[in-house]
């Protein structure tokens, strides 16, 4: 179980993530939805401490994986966890794979780093699991630049699965590949989740994808969690004005009639963050109170396990 409470990340003097809280339980898929610049990837990479010590300052009230406190353990211990207990799938597979090593040597390296024995047959079987049936025999001899986007991404998924992690963080895994392959990847992740019980933290900006894949959804905006809860709650009873606006946008695309609904204004840059609700200037319900403080993330009154950060949430939903 991955527990994150009030995760904050600062680059130089800029607070990019201002407090993220969620719990990723065993076998669950949690989607983190948000626009560009909302802090999704930064949060994901901070959980795995992929930033160097002098690059980012990461703080949290709690950051633990199965009772291991990820914040306080040293780098050496963290290296033993990365790749084994918690794996990462990058947005662009060709960035994650080393360009001058064959796929085989990348698998071997992973096994060598964690002192496991490399078994070629097992890896071929794994590649077949991720859908590289025919190619599995010769793909191991290839270099990353010789693979298509879809093949490369499936290889990174196979790499992530190699050592049977408990948690996989998938950072927009379909963004840089063909739309036609999106389904394949998504189905693959779902099947992994069902077959192996691996929890997945799925980072995306695509509502549809989040709808398909998730058990729970977390909406990020301005470095903060705006709304967090079960998928059905979010989609059917969105409480936060921002979430509701997003739903309108999605419905507008799906309805295909007339003009597309757009959300006016623009998302704030982290340098513009202040101690106020980050959505107030785009929100039709905002009042002076919204400008004076950052609202707390509170449990919605009529539903359990659904949290919303809005002072006017009840009023908004009663309308």
């Amino acid at each position: 179980m991955l527990r994150v409470e009030n995760l904050k990340v600062k680059f130089d003097q800029i607070q990019v993530v201002r407090g993220i809280t969620f719990t990723l339980r065993q076998g669950m898929i949690l989607s983190v939805l948000g626009e560009s610049g909302s802090g999704k990837s930064v949060s994901a990479m901070s959980i795995m401490k992929l930033y160097g010590e002098n690059q980012a300052l990461i703080t949290a009230d709690k950051l633990s994986l199965n009772e291991i406190d990820l914040l306080s353990i040293n780098e050496r211990s963290m290296q033993k966890i990365r790749g084994v207990q918690i794996a990462y799938i990058f947005q662009n597979p060709n960035d994650a794979l080393s360009p001058n090593k064959t796929i085989r040597s990348q698998f071997k390296e992973l096994f060598r780093v964690h002192h496991r024995t490399y078994d070629e047959k097992e890896i071929e079987a794994l590649l077949e699991t991720v859908g590289l049936n025919i190619e599995s025999k010769y793909i191991l001899n290839m270099y990353p630049h010789q693979l298509s986007g879809g093949q490369a991404q499936r290889v990174t998924i196979a790499l992530a699965l190699s050592l049977n992690p408990k948690v996989i963080i998938a950072d927009e895994p379909t963004s840089s590949i063909d739309a036609s392959l999106t389904d394949v990847i998504v189905e693959l992740l779902l099947s992994i989740n069902k077959k192996y019980g691996i929890s997945i933290l799925f980072i995306t900006h695509d509502f549809d994808l989040a709808a398909r894949i998730s058990d729970e959804i977390l909406i990020l905006y301005g470095g903060l969690v705006m709304e967090y809860g079960k998928k059905t709650e979010i989609f059917n009873h969105a409480k936060h004005p921002y979430t509701q606006e997003l739903m309108k946008c999605v419905n507008s695309i799906q309805s295909r009639d007339g003009e597309l609904y757009t959300l006016t204004g623009y998302a704030l840059d982290p340098t513009e963050f202040k101690d106020e609700c980050p959505f107030w200037y785009r929100c039709m319900y905002s009042t002076v109170v919204c400008k004076s403080q950052i609202p707390q993330l509170i449990e919605a009154r009529d539903t359990s396990s659904c949290f919303v950060r809005c002072i006017h949430a009840l009023e908004v939903n009663n309308e």
Binding site: I81, A96, E109
Partner: protein, 730 residues
């Protein structure tokens, strides 16, 4: 097109450099240490001539010679190894320092970053060249031997230049660390070290290889600049002129090395520009070629030049470079080892009696006939007349055919040297007069005894001439039955061959031999069956002409002895002499210069020494004799101490000087200390004084004082001598 030309040029220069390092004899057959063309000789009237080097480029020496008469082309060819090795070691040191620090800095280490940054700034501000000149010109560094000099060069030049390289590496490592795939490495749990070695280094090493060659060219340029300021490895400085209160020195390098040739620039740029021009060209071509190669390598690795299997090309080049430095094990100029064996000669089959071999006695006649036959068999020709054996007139001499000296039942025959011979058979008591004043006229009158007495005298403070005179005087007294002089036998030149025959026996007894409490109760028995020598000595003069058209007339003379006290020591000595000749002449291709061999008679006593006969004649062109190696002090022993005297081979006689230096190197290599000659006199310098032949004396003598660790046997001595002779027969 240009890029491919650049590649070909770079490869060509690299291959030529490697070939010059590995197979220098392919490019030139001239010994870079030897002087061909420095004509220094004494003519028949006794006038010393010096035809001065440096010689301009001419037939037989395509690039001319330097001030010492060494061929410039040969110096360049053989100097490639030392110059390139020096540059290579400096670059390697820079990389050894820069790579770890650059990596550490690139991975965030502030200490590493600070170190290379500060060092780079520091040496960037101070003119590195000037700093190196100041440091390396200090007395301490100038006086170092070759290996320590190389070490100090490498350490200093490596250290002052690594900062810049470190910064470049740090920048590249930092840049690689920013690549996304490094995050991928972190995500799978790799440590920084693993990332550095498996990912960063893999991306960086092609650039490192290119940097290596470019840095190599840069270091060569630095060495060239230092050379112009006369800062180079293996300095020999000698003083040209001390008039007017100022000391004018000439700095040369003993070793062939490019930068040292440029050091002559200041003195000779106008009068002998070729000394500077050709080495400068060598530097220029090397730097150009290495730069071209480095740039081409960069083009190959980045794909701008298409080559099939570029990785194999790179690996091939690296192997070539490595082989040329690591494969060449020996630091010395010579690749081959010249073997020496004490070969079985048929000398043991001769019918020698138990007498000594000397001065025309029956043994000597057998010996000389045998040696002449051996020389003829080996292709030697008579130097004079039509026979190798040449007689010379001599005074009458005496030696012991059989002798026995017994002191208190102890046989001390081998501890004594006979001064005055005769037929004796006496038994007497000893009288200790070691404290007496031997010039006291009344000394003998004070002796009051009825029995026969043998005097024991202290000869330490008397010369051999005085001892002879005193002995002659004392022998007249009927009271005296014999005289024993205590003296350090090492100070006596003669060995049992004497021109003195008195009424009583006169002996030298080694000072080291202790006689406890000399009183009248000590008895000595002296027996001698004396022989008179013939009045003719027999020398053997042989010559083996050289084969080289340009230097075949230049000659090395070997002086060998064949006189011996016992049959056994004669056999050993003869075996040694003939084995030395075999080892020197067996390689026909090596017989470039003429070899003159003198087997000399009477070497046991200056009065009879056959060298005087040779010195009185002019049997070979004086100006062509480069060196006389006097081996007449080699005795037929199992083990002994090496004698070595190079006082008659000054640096102005360069061939002889380098020959003596090389022999000294041989001694160093085997950790043997040679001893000086304690009883040196004019006879040792005879050929040098009379004929101007630089002389080197090498001998093997018995000594009971030293421990075994400093003794060698004839095989070791022969090995050293023949190695040096063979090395210099070019």
């Amino acid at each position: 097109m240009f890029k491919k030309l650049q590649l070909y040029l770079g490869c060509a220069v690299l291959v030529i450099l490697v070939m010059m390092i590995l197979f220098p004899s392919f490019f030139t057959t001239v010994n870079p240490y030897a002087t061909e063309g420095l004509k220094s000789y004494v003519d028949e009237e006794g006038t010393y001539h010096l035809e001065k080097a440096p010689f301009a480029p001419q037939k037989g020496m395509i690039m001319g010679t330097d001030e010492m008469g060494r061929h410039i082309w040969s110096l360049i060819v053989y100097g490639t190894k030392l110059t390139m090795t020096l540059a290579f070691l400096i670059v390697i040191l820079r990389f050894i320092l820069a790579i770890p620090l650059g990596f550490l800095a690139g991975f965030g280490s502030l200490t590493a970053h600070g170190t290379i940054d500060k060092l780079s700034r520091f040496f960037g501000t101070i003119p590195t060249l000037l700093l190196c000149i100041i440091i390396l010109k200090m007395e301490f560094f100038v006086g170092l031997d070759k290996n320590m000099s190389i070490l100090s060069f490498v350490l200093l030049l490596g250290f002052v230049g690594f900062g810049k390289t470190g910064i470049v590496i740090e920048e590249r490592v930092t840049s690689i660390n920013r690549e996304p795939f490094v995050k991928g490495d972190i995500a799978i749990g790799k440590s920084k070290t693993q990332i550095a070695l498996t990912t960063v280094f893999r991306h960086l090493y092609p650039e490192l290889i290119v940097m290596f060659f470019l840095e190599f060219a840069r270091v060569l340029t630095l060495l060239l600049q230092l050379g112009l300021f006369a800062v180079f490895v293996g300095n020999v400085r000698f003083i040209e002129d001390t008039s007017n209160g100022s000391v004018k020195t000439m700095d040369i390098s003993y070793e062939p090395e490019w930068a040292s040739m440029l050091g002559a620039a200041r003195n000779n740029i106008r009068s002998a520009p070729w000394i500077v021009f050709y080495p400068a060209m060598a530097f220029f071509i090397s730097v150009l070629g290495l730069n071209a190669f480095g740039e081409s390598l960069r083009n190959v690795l980045s794909g701008q030049i298409k080559i099939k299997k570029p990785s194999r090309f790179v690996i091939g080049v690296l192997l070539l470079v490595l082989v040329s430095f690591i494969g060449v094990k020996s630091w010395e100029f010579y690749q081959t080892n010249y073997g020496f064996e004490l070969k079985e000669q048929s000398v043991s089959g001769l019918n020698l009696t138990d007498e000594p071999v000397l001065m025309g006695n029956s043994n000597a006649l057998i010996a000389t006939t045998y040696i002449e036959q051996q020389l003829n068999q080996r292709g030697f020709l008579p130097l004079k007349g039509n026979r190798i054996i040449q007689n010379y007139p001599s005074e009458k001499g005496y030696y012991a055919k059989v002798a026995n000296v017994i002191l208190n039942d102890l046989d001390i025959t081998s501890e004594v040297v006979w001064l005055a011979h005769g037929d004796f058979d006496i038994e007497a008591s000893l009288l200790d007069l070691q404290d007496a004043d031997l010039y006291d006229k009344n000394l003998l009158n004070q002796i009051d005894t009825s029995e026969e007495i043998v005097l024991v005298l202290d000869g330490r403070f008397y010369s051999e001439f005085e001892i002879e005179n005193i002995s002659t005087r004392f022998a007249l007294s009927e009271k005296i039955a014999g005289i024993i002089w205590r003296k350090d036998l090492d100070t006596i030149r003669q060995k049992n061959l004497s021109n003195l025959s008195l009424r009583v026996p006169v002996l030298y007894l080694s000072q080291n031999f202790s006689i406890a409490g000399l009183t009248e109760t000590n008895k000595v028995k002296i027996y001698e069956d004396c022989e008179v020598t013939s009045s003719q000595g027999q020398n053997l003069y042989a010559i083996l002409p050289g084969t080289s058209p340009s230097m075949g007339e230049e000659a090395i003379i070997l002086g060998l002895a064949y006189n011996a006290n016992t049959k056994d020591s004669f056999e050993k000595l003869c075996q040694f002499n003939l084995s030395v000749l075999d080892a020197v002449i067996e390689n026909k291709a090596n017989r470039k210069r003429t070899l003159i061999v003198l087997f000399l008679d009477g070497t046991m006593n200056d009065a009879f020494n056959g060298i005087a006969d040779y010195a009185n004649q002019s049997l070979y062109s004086q100006k062509d004799v480069l060196l006389y190696v006097d081996l007449t002090r080699v005795e037929g022993l199992d083990k002994g101490e090496i004698l070595f005297d190079q006082n008659q081979s000054p640096i102005s006689r360069y061939f002889a000087y380098t020959f003596s230096m090389q022999f000294a190197e041989q001694l160093d290599k085997t950790n043997i200390k040679a001893v000086k000659i304690e009883n040196s006199n004019f006879m040792d310098q005879l050929l040098f004084d009379e004929k101007g032949f630089p002389t080197l004396i090498i001998g093997l003598k018995e000594d009971r004082k030293t421990t075994d660790t400093n003794k060698v046997d004839l095989k070791d001595l022969g090995q050293m001598i023949t190695t040096v002779i063979n090395q210099n027969n070019y």
